[in-house]
Amino acid sequence: MLFWIGLTFLEAKAFQYEGDLGKLSLAGYLEGKAIYAFDRDTPRENPSEKLGVELKASSSSWLSSKIFLQAVDDGKVIDPDNKALFNQFDRIYQDKNPYVNVNEAYLDIYTGKVDFRLGVQKFAWGRLDEINPTDNLNTMDLTEGGINDEIERKIGVPSLKINMYSDMADVELAWVPVYVPYRLPQPDERWFPKVLKPPEVIKTDTMVGNIPVNTSYQDIDLPAHTVGNSEMGVRVSKYIGGWDLSCSYFTGYDPMPLTDAPVDLTVKLLNPLALDYRINTQVTMVPEIHRMDVFGFDFTTTMSSFTVRGEYAYFKNKYYNQKIDPVLEQLVTKSRQDEIYKEFMTKYLASGGRDNVQVFHIDPHIPIQEDSMKYGLGLDYIYGDTTLSVQFIQELIPNFNADKPVYFNKNGLNTMLTFLFKQFFLQNTMEFNLRTVYEVEFQDFIIKPSLKYNFTDNLQGTIGILFISGKYDDSLFGQFKDNDEMFAKLRCSF
């Protein structure tokens, strides 16, 4: 269906009007993608199509607007339940296919020294590639595991941006009145994070044995729409002596997924005389959001033949997800079971033996607050058609609590090394791209080589391979280590 709609657009080609009424342009693309999963037991992903349409209009030199919509027939979504057409700004689990995504839709007003942008938009703060600690105004669409291009995974948020320009400095103010949550795939889909899946059983060394775990997922409960619950950021930039410098401040909600896991322990007395009982566990994964403050600084300059980029952010009141397995195991230790059983028996006896099934609600408070900082340094070397880029990015939790291990950080550290090699051939019609990321503490990595070829100015094909590996199942990349795949994309632009 999308393919045929797309063909209609392609036949129409890009439309452009420039006259007394102003400027109007319509452009876009149709993209098809297919993957071959090396591990055939992993959740499937069918071929997908995406039609992007961008409409730009300006009636004068001070007023313009842009709407960028994507109509998607998504091969990753399995058995969608949500019949809504548009992706919703208040849901984590969109669970729909096909759908339309409002990528960007805003109005620009340009005045002498101040620009206003109002509408659904994406911000781009920071100077590092792909990973920007100071860039927290947009949440991410993680339905592709977060390994797709940054601009694709970033969710446009309804907001107001004001840019003020002066000789002293350029100032950007951003106000996001309502928090827009990140997006996740459904738990049975290919790119659902394994770290958000509790174990199927809790291991105990008591007579109860392994306790089975049932899991359900709730969508997010958003805070009231008040000014106090809105998000705000300010970034001041200045070019000084060859250095592009910026400092920034953000106050708002952590854009990364945080999940509490309240547990209902169901105790069933099978044989009162033998004191034989069974425990079942129901874990509900409940998204949480926490406000934080981020103080940031970034720079770019050139030194000799290199571009040097740096970024630093201090996170105050940041929360991390504790590893869920040890937390659940702590809930059913021998001593905890004894306490629960004692309470059970008290109620059981008080009910005259009728309450032989009782539910105990426990909230283990998975997210824990730990201030942290994240910083990185990047080095680029461009020589004509060749680009080399390396980055060192590290997260540090100064007061790391070793008794409460969290995901994606080991003993207070998480160090990433990224490497990008890009080479153009044949007058820029062919591009080889090799992108790798390695996490030092977790010894996991992604390697993504791809080859892109422009058959014509408007028809582009890409093939590539995605290798993911990791020592641990609960590291950032290790959780997806079964998802190695080969992919092919064809994009027709108009």
Binding site: Y110, I151, Y165, S305, F306, D380, G384, D385, D457
Partner: protein, 262 residues
């Protein structure tokens, strides 16, 4: 003193060959004086803008097209700012490239890629390499000191019926070209043709500058070709809607306009 000279194609590419209609000077001019005269005439307009249509021709004759808008502002003393906005094809639409040239310092360059939504300062290195797939190099686009070359007036010749000085420019320190032979029209001091030789002394490229139009009393070649005889490729540039001294605002040459587009 700087001169955008050896890379003749880019004289047009960024500075638009702002050569004033000037009667031929006496035949006693030295090669250096001819080059200096041509260079002096380059900085006639304080600013300029133009639409550019580029065709890349592969060695198999396949053609790819690009359309751009170009804005240049000059401040004297070889200080200038220029910005290029890419309009087509779709995969580069919205890309912009800003260069600040300063006689006393390294050029400063910024690139805005819509796919990243970020402006990135980039190193001005790799000057011998192709600029975005064209047969022009970053070196061609930059500025060089006229005194870094020695000049020799070889002869007078005609190019398509126009009388030209034929001058050999040899760099005192060979970096990207071992020599450039340029045909400068005797009538208006606009280059008509340039042969560029690589560092091994092999003939590498030929630049052709044609279709000279008088715009606001400034003679401007509006059709430029750069043929790479070694790899068989070519870049053809046609300029249109050329406007000089329109009073371009300073803030066009900033990050603000790079992201906003023209």
């Amino acid at each position: 003193m700087k001169c955008k000279y050896t890379g003749y194609a880019i004289i047009v590419f960024l500075v638009l060959c702002l050569t004033h209609v000037t009667p031929a000077l006496s035949a006693e001019m030295t090669a250096y004086q001819i080059v200096k005269k041509s260079e002096d005439l380059l900085d006639q307009a304080k600013d300029s803008k133009a639409d550019m249509h580029m065709i890349f021709v592969s060695n198999k004759g396949e053609k790819r097209e690009r359309t751009l808008n170009l804005f240049v502002k000059r401040y004297g003393n070889n200080k200038s700012k220029s910005i290029v906005f890419f309009n087509s094809p779709a995969d580069v639409k919205g890309t912009s490239f800003l260069v600040w040239t300063n006689e006393k310092k390294e050029d400063k360059q910024w690139l805005y890629l819509p796919a990243l939504q970020r402006v990135r300062q980039i190193s001005a290195s790799g000057k011998g390499e192709s600029f975005m797939g064209t047969e022009l190099t970053f070196f061609d686009m930059g500025s060089q000191d006229i005194d870094d070359y020695s000049y020799n007036l070889l002869k007078e010749d005609t190019v398509k019926g126009e009388s030209c000085y034929v001058i050999e420019a040899t760099p005192k320190k060979v970096e990207f070209y071992s020599k450039v032979i340029v045909w400068i029209r005797t009538g208006n001091f606009i280059p008509a043709k340039a042969d560029l030789y690589d560092t091994k002394g092999q003939y590498q490229k030929q630049g052709i500058f044609e279709n000279v139009k008088n715009i606001k009393e400034i003679n401007t070649p509006t059709h430029i070709e750069m043929h790479n005889v070694q790899n068989g490729r070519a870049t053809i540039i046609d300029l249109s809607n050329i406007v000089y001294d329109s009073g371009l605002k300073e803030d066009i040459f900033t990050e603000r306009y790079m992201t906003r587009g023209n």
